[in-house]
């Protein structure tokens, strides 16, 4: 089975975000594989171990993303592809990323593509479905279970807390939700082997893409932190007075009723 994983490098979940000059400060921050993409890597490895084949992890990013690709290789992926867009593009959006990935994948023999449900930074959840659309293959989002039998695929997906069972077939793209699996830690022998696994680096040119082909369809107007939460208040006094005061505050201060 030819398995492809779409992977993004994101801020470590423990990092504190700060904004300066309209940009999120990346200085000194720790970066990780987007946690949902980690489920995708793990699932791809398990499916490969069960059905044979090869796992290729792909990312669109800069030199910096090599570390996350190496981590996926250390977990057990076979090959990695880094599409380095740093020199060609100042910025991009979901359209940009999906377009580049589609271009790369369109002449590959693809059985199953796995992506994260969302990236924890942008949080759009669009890249996976857009790639499937571009390739003209079906997709299922937020999966929590997958079984492949020949070309038949049975999937359980998370629907806002409920489960939905779906039958479909390869080729297919899925996006992975928490609960699908427990991603493994890269083992030390895995880390040693990852050094020697192939990591191909491409630029837009290599994919016959021009800057204009992938230009963002959206514009970021402003980036700002959520307003700081004000301290809570404990109302005191007679219960009926408290209720009155609360209703008054909801009307006059919070303006929600």
């Amino acid at each position: 089975m030819n398995l492809y994983v779409l992977l993004k490098r994101t801020f470590d979940t423990e990092e504190k975000i700060s904004i300066s000059g309209g940009r999120i400060q990346e200085d000194g921050a720790e970066f990780i594989i987007n946690p949902y993409d980690e489920y995708a890597v793990e699932e791809a490895i398990q499916l490969r171990d069960e059905h044979g084949g090869e796992v290729t992890v792909i990312t669109v990013g800069s030199d910096e993303s090599e570390k996350q690709l190496r981590t996926a290789l250390a977990m057990g992926a076979d090959k990695a592809v880094l599409i380095n867009s740093e020199e060609d593009l100042d910025e991009g959006d979901q359209y940009t990323t999906a377009k580049i990935l589609t271009q790369y994948l369109k002449d590959k023999e693809v059985d199953l593509i796995l992506a994260g449900n969302v990236a924890i930074d942008g949080g759009s959840g669009q890249v996976g479905p857009r790639v499937a659309e571009g390739l003209g293959i079906p997709y299922v989002t937020t999966i929590t279970d997958i079984e492949v039998n020949g070309s038949d695929v049975s999937i359980t997906r998370d629907v806002e807390g409920d489960s939905e069972k779906i039958s479909t077939s390869l080729p297919l793209l899925v996006t992975c939700q928490q609960g699908l699996n427990e991603p493994r830690y890269p083992s030390l022998p895995g880390i040693m082997k990852a050094k020697k696994k192939p990591l191909e680096e491409l630029e837009l040119d290599d994919l016959d893409l021009e800057e204009a082909d992938v230009a963002s369809k959206t514009k970021t107007i402003d980036i700002f932190m959520p307003p700081e939460k004000a301290a809570g208040r404990v109302l005191e006094g007679d219960l009926s007075d408290q209720v009155k005061e609360l209703a008054g505050l909801l009307r006059s201060e919070a303006k929600v009723i």
Binding site: K67, A74, Y185, P186, L188, P189, I191
Partner: protein, 588 residues
């Protein structure tokens, strides 16, 4: 070639000549991360059970560590190991330390448990044991201490006697406080053949006459198993003699050096954890309607804790770098020869002892302040800092007490000098000649100029004190334990100050001043406070050694060497703490 052990005291060292944590490779960072994830994800949830001596869980966790390769770092590839570089191996020890008593189980297995066979086993012994120890099929322990012999390891009473058939040694005695003894399969045991020849043996738990006593109730590291190993006419096959008969001390002392070295590395990991949880607690804890992290006395604590940690981390990884440099320079053949490896380790016996006592004392200081920052909650066992406080205490005792390790430092220097390995006496003489014409210096205005001057003068002060002590006491110096300990402290502070300065300098050369502000603050704070301590130790030492006119003269020399305009550490600590309070973790 890597620097000679102890040479830092008499030579000027360049920033580029030392290894620093900024030099970790991506792969080394990945190994550290796997260890960290394993500890946080798999071990920490089990700690409450491990603390109650549920050692079946320790075994499962160690097996999982085996699957991840975390037991195989120091085992050669041909015996199922990974033969990792020494930096990776140190990072595993550092990250593992967060797991408290469990890290002692891990460390005892991979370190003092497995290494005697790795370094001193013959082909057959290595083949028999190492693959199982590297993958977690079997676990190892180390049995040296006895009720009557602790620091005096060679005073062991356990005996070994060859049986009449000449097939087995029959061992009798008791080995005390043996880590991992609840589940270990293989013990390195020291015993005296015919009550005389101190030797090491590989003893399996299944051999007739081998048993363990009751589980000890300890003050800390409760997550590790500690029992007595009882040898009662224990039958050990003759082929399980490790190394040569009567040469057990060579194994014991070399393994102790490694144990000290690894202990130092571990204290860095624990100290980081204690600082991190204290930062988070202080940010959350509100009194007088503000986070206690905003109070200047709490900031003072964070400033001191972090600068000490930075110095210890810099010094200990500098030593790690020396090991790595020396080991990777060994030929393939030498790498298979335990004696060549042991010689590389022995070369840095001084640095190993410094890392051991300095690391454990910095950690003890940090967990103590950590409890203080937690206030009453820090006294409650549901807070991690309480366990860390208890767990920390043993570090100043095992692997050679800090007192023994202090005594070893000047002792080893003098030995190296007599053997002609270090021109210590020549340098001391040179310095004494220089002293008459000594003029106090003014540091230049550039960054770290003052700190570099303090390091330079600290070296002179240490050398002066050591030189005078050797001159005055000669062979009797051994009995002057207070003076020896003071000299060890002087030497340690020199190594730590210099390591911090060089690390910061190296980092600035790579990524500029702006990105290394925090490192500069730590370095300035630590150097100032260390130098204050140096003056106290030196004064006490000179007063003990000299008297009359010569004392007055030496005191004036000390004043000249000590002359400097102190920096405002209060302001520097506030600044360092502000950055820590922002990131809520130890940052450099």
């Amino acid at each position: 070639m890597a620097a000679k052990g102890g040479s830092f005291l008499i030579e000027e060292v360049e920033a580029n000549a030392i290894f620093t944590p900024e030099d970790f490779s991506d792969e080394q960072k990945m190994i550290a991360k796997t260890t960290e994830e394993y500890v946080m994800g798999s071990v920490m949830p089990e700690v409450p059970y491990l603390e109650k001596h549920e050692f079946d869980r320790s075994v499962k966790l160690l097996q999982e560590a085996g699957e991840l390769g975390l037991l195989a770092a120091d085992v050669p590839e041909e015996y199922g190991g990974l033969n990792l570089d020494k930096v990776s191996s140190a990072l595993i020890a550092e990250k593992m330390a967060v797991a408290g008593g469990f890290s002692i189980s891990h460390g005892a297995h991979v370190g003092i448990g497995s290494l005697p066979i790795v370094l001193f086993g013959n082909e057959k012994q290595k083949e028999t044991y190492l693959p199982d120890l590297a993958d977690g099929t079997r676990f190892a322990a180390y049995a040296l201490t006895e009720p009557g012999s602790g620091s005096d390891a060679l005073g062991a009473k356990t005996t070994a006697r060859l049986n009449e058939a000449g097939t087995h040694y029959v061992l009798n005695g008791e080995k005390q406080w043996i880590t991992n003894s609840a589940f270990a399969d293989v013990f390195t045991v020291y015993a005296k053949i015919d009550g005389e020849q101190f030797s090491a043996f590989i003893v399996e738990k299944g051999y007739p006459g081998v048993s363990t006593g009751a589980e000890e109730e300890k003050m800390g590291i409760k997550s590790s198993s500690t029992r007595t190993l009882i040898l009662s006419d224990a039958e050990v096959p003759v082929e399980n003699l490790l190394g040569e008969a009567g040469r057990g001390h060579v194994i014991a002392f070399n393994i102790l050096n490694i144990g000290r070295y690894k202990l130092g590395v571990g204290t860095v990991g624990s100290a980081k954890r204690a600082l991190d949880i204290s930062l988070k607690y202080a940010a959350e804890r509100k009194q007088f309607k503000t986070s206690i992290a905003n109070f200047n006395l709490i900031k003072e604590k964070f400033g001191t804790m972090s600068s000490k940690l930075y110095a210890a981390e810099s010094a200990i990884y500098r030593t790690v770098g020396y090991f790595e440099e020396r080991m990777s320079a060994l030929s393939e053949e030498e790498q298979k020869d335990g004696k060549a490896i042991a010689a590389s380790i022995a070369e840095y016996a001084i640095e190993c002892s410094l890392g051991k006592f300095f690391g454990s004392e910095v950690l003890d200081y940090i967990v103590d302040e950590g409890v203080q920052i937690h206030g009453g909650y820090g006294f409650m066992e549901e807070y991690e800092i309480a366990r860390m406080y208890r767990d920390s205490r043993i570090n100043r005792i095992f692997e050679g007490t800090n007192e023994i390790n202090r005594l070893l430092v000047p002792g080893t220097f003098v030995k190296k000098a007599f053997k002609g390995e270090l021109p210590l006496f020549e340098k001391a003489k040179e310095l004494q000649g220089e002293l008459m014409t000594l003029m106090p210096e003014e540091p230049g205005g550039e960054l770290l100029a003052q700190e570099k001057m303090l390091v330079k003068n600290a070296k002179k002060i240490a050398l002066l004190a050591a030189g005078l002590a050797v001159q005055k006491y000669g062979k009797g110096l051994e009995a002057e334990q207070e003076v020896l300990a003071n000299i060890a402290d002087l030497v340690n502070l020199v190594y730590a100050m210099e390591s911090a300065v060089l690390r910061t300098e190296k980092a600035i050369a790579v990524s500029g001043e702006e990105k290394n502000k925090q490192k500069v603050l730590y370095t300035q704070i630590f150097c100032q406070e260390a130098f204050n301590e140096i003056e106290v130790h030196a004064k006490e030492t000179l007063v003990a050694i000299e008297s009359g006119d010569s004392l007055r003269m030496m005191m004036s020399v000390l004043r000249k060497l000590g002359r400097h305009t102190p920096i405002n550490v209060i302001a520097k600590k506030r600044e360092a703490a502000d950055r820590l309070n922002e990131s809520l973790k130890y940052v450099v």
